[in-house]
């Protein structure tokens, strides 16, 4: 043997501590959620200016770039890549994702409706800010859920 064997209980404790540590490293920090929220806020803006195809396409490009940079930065900063597929077996996580989709689709639909009714205006600011705040909170909640599930295995 290369090292002394440890007893079963201390081996389990060691494994559990390492799993908790792994969960802590992989859990995205607050800047991730804020960045995610701000990127999501672009969606209602895109919807509002949907008739101006060129501008909307530029925003779609900015959004894709932002998501790509966000994931790349996360990977570079943490040095890990989480395994999230198992989270889809948790109902609360799935409900959270559905809530996020409903939020984004709702914000886009509301923006489109308001743009038709009032044209582009300052109303877009509170809509975008509200989307950013709610998306940030949902991201934070989802990441906390991930950390809890992973750390408590």
């Amino acid at each position: 043997m290369e090292t002394d064997p440890v007893d079963a209980q201390s081996a389990l404790d060691t494994a559990a501590a390492a799993e908790r540590r792994s969960a802590k490293i992989a859990t995205p920090p607050l800047w991730f959620d804020l960045w995610f929220g701000v990127t999501c806020a672009v969606i209602p803006v895109e919807a509002a200016i949907g008739t101006a195809i060129a501008a909307a396409l530029i925003l779609v490009g900015v959004e894709c770039l932002s998501f790509g940079l966000l994931l790349g930065t996360y990977r570079r900063v943490t040095g890990v890549w989480p395994r999230q597929l198992f989270m889809f077996t948790h109902l609360r996580f799935v409900l959270l994702l559905i809530t996020l989709v409903v939020l984004l689709v709702g914000a886009a639909a509301a923006s489109t409706q308001l743009a038709w009714s009032y044209g582009l205006g300052w109303w877009l600011v509170p809509v975008a800010v509200a989307t950013a705040v709610l998306a940030t909170l949902l991201s934070r909640t989802g990441n906390a859920m991930y950390a809890h599930v992973l750390g408590a295995r």
């Binding site: 043997m1 290369e2 389990l12 390492a18 792994s22 040095g79 890990v80 295995r153």
Partner: protein
């Protein structure tokens, strides 16, 4: 349902911690694993080579920013073996608890 199976390869403390850390991740960078386990590059390389020989981990080398970066991931076989080993440890602990209360 995981069938308990004690695994001598995984039971080594460094390898057990490495597997436990990788269990919840798709992959981790070599330096992250080294720092978290508190071992040197050579020691970690040696343990990872043992796990790789058993088919439990996969090492991927890629060049990024002109530097060679190695990432480590548990394979399906490695995940199954780790889960089976943890189940075996739990069984041992449960057995000890049962015998001590009998």
């Amino acid at each position: 349902m995981t069938t308990p199976a004690f695994d001598e390869i995984i039971h080594n403390p460094v390898r057990l911690r490495a597997c436990a850390m990788l269990a919840g991740l798709a992959h981790a960078a070599f330096p992250v694993l080294r720092d978290e386990l508190g071992v040197s590059d050579s020691v970690l390389s040696k343990h990872l080579a043992t796990l790789e020989a058993a088919g439990y981990v996969k090492l991927t080398k890629a060049t990024s920013d002109r530097r060679l970066r190695t990432s480590v991931a548990l394979t399906r076989k490695g995940r199954d073996a780790y889960a089976a080993h943890v189940a075996a440890l739990q069984l041992i602990v449960a057995g000890e608890a049962t015998s001590s209360t009998a």
